[in-house]
Symmetry: C2
Subunit: 240 residues, 2 copies
Amino acid sequence: MPRIVRHPEVRRAELLAAAGRLFSARGYEAASVDDIIGEVGLSKGAFYYYFPSKDALLEALARQAAERARAELEAILAAPAMSAVEQLNAFLRRGRGTDRAAEAIATFASIFSPENIVLYHRMHRTVMTVMAPALARIIEKGRREGSMASNDPLISAELVLLLGAVTHGAVADLLAAEGADALSQAIAAFERRLAEQGLAVDRILGLPDGTARFVEPGFVAAMAAARPNRNPLGATVAAG
Amino acid sequence: MPRIVRHPEVRRAELLAAAGRLFSARGYEAASVDDIIGEVGLSKGAFYYYFPSKDALLEALARQAAERARAELEAILAAPAMSAVEQLNAFLRRGRGTDRAAEAIATFASIFSPENIVLYHRMHRTVMTVMAPALARIIEKGRREGSMASNDPLISAELVLLLGAVTHGAVADLLAAEGADALSQAIAAFERRLAEQGLAVDRILGLPDGTARFVEPGFVAAMAAARPNRNPLGATVAAG
DNA sequence: TGCTACAGACCGCCAGTCGGTATAACTGAC
DNA sequence: GTCAGTTATACCGACTGGCGGTCTGTAGCA
């Protein structure tokens, strides 16, 4: 086979990109190392030259995601003109504008699928460790401004983040919904759920009811409209 | 090899029991089907006579756990003498008495270990579908009694259950703590966390602060005291 | 000339398959 | 009631394909 040499950073990025695609599409376990190197056009030996194990590749992918999330956050935190409450809402809605609904539903569809628990968990854990302290800073600011209450900003931050990550079931329902009736029902259920989650955040942080909102209005409907094409036999996503 | 025939129900139970032990001890992926049948003294063919796949065995195990949880709940729900608030606390503390601390820490240690995400997730999901409606009934009762507030008892129930399942990190810290100082710090952190989670539940359900409590006093210390013996090299549970 | 980035045959293990079989349970003849 | 014949059930274990990971190299750039 022709031997093609690239800059290590480029190769590493290629592997991460291919792994990201394949893990999302097929699930972490179902996507083999051979699949990944096949996509990049690399040998087994070269792969293990870059990553000590398949798990390390997953870890690197999670770190990458966390790093990107952190970068997105810096922008919010760096804006001193915003009140803590405004920052909170900006935080909760990051990447959840109606314009990014298609992107969001695609991500959800792959990451919340049953065969992707491992991928989801890794991402979540790693991103969480980056996000929690950032959100805690917002909560502390809110406390100083007198708009928020919390005994322990870091713990409160983790609880709030947790509430943001419970969308699993509702997303699955949204993806599985067949027919206009079921779809509009799923949308309504999803929005009720998001409203309740927002309320829970308000209560935990001592904000007036209706202050925190996880998505901007119309986001769920936009996501539903942008659902990835499902196979004609139905049940793309197994129930449960 | 001698051929030993048993009643199918007995064999099935044997397999479930062995799988429960091995999955907990080594993790779902690390415990092979060969390990399980080795423990039971059965052949590969016989195993696949009972379960169509290793995953189906995990599913059956999760169902079993859910069924047991449901049975435990019936007792609480069947007691009409208890107020909804009392039922809530009984619910939150099920299996969390100081007398059951040893059992609890052992369960946590295995189920929250990094290599057991799959096992944890399955159990959690299955048990959740059983628990959420039960807790929702308690919340409805509380609403009728005027002690609780909720727009949607089922969603509130799911949020409350979720809050009960966030103990991961703190448990890991508790298990990893080396030396008296670190241990007492981990205990304190755990208790602060549980207190905050209790507060969050209070707020979500419109209860006075300090009403809901996830464990009885002294439970965390009792758990810490009952930690399973860790290997002398330290770091039984990998960080994170 | 030496080190870095690569190649690919190879290994052990694992979930799952398959053809076969011992044994218990049932049948009917006497 | 018992005993050969038959069937269905519960079981055996060699085998397969594919997986993650290893190892011995080696081409190509510096």
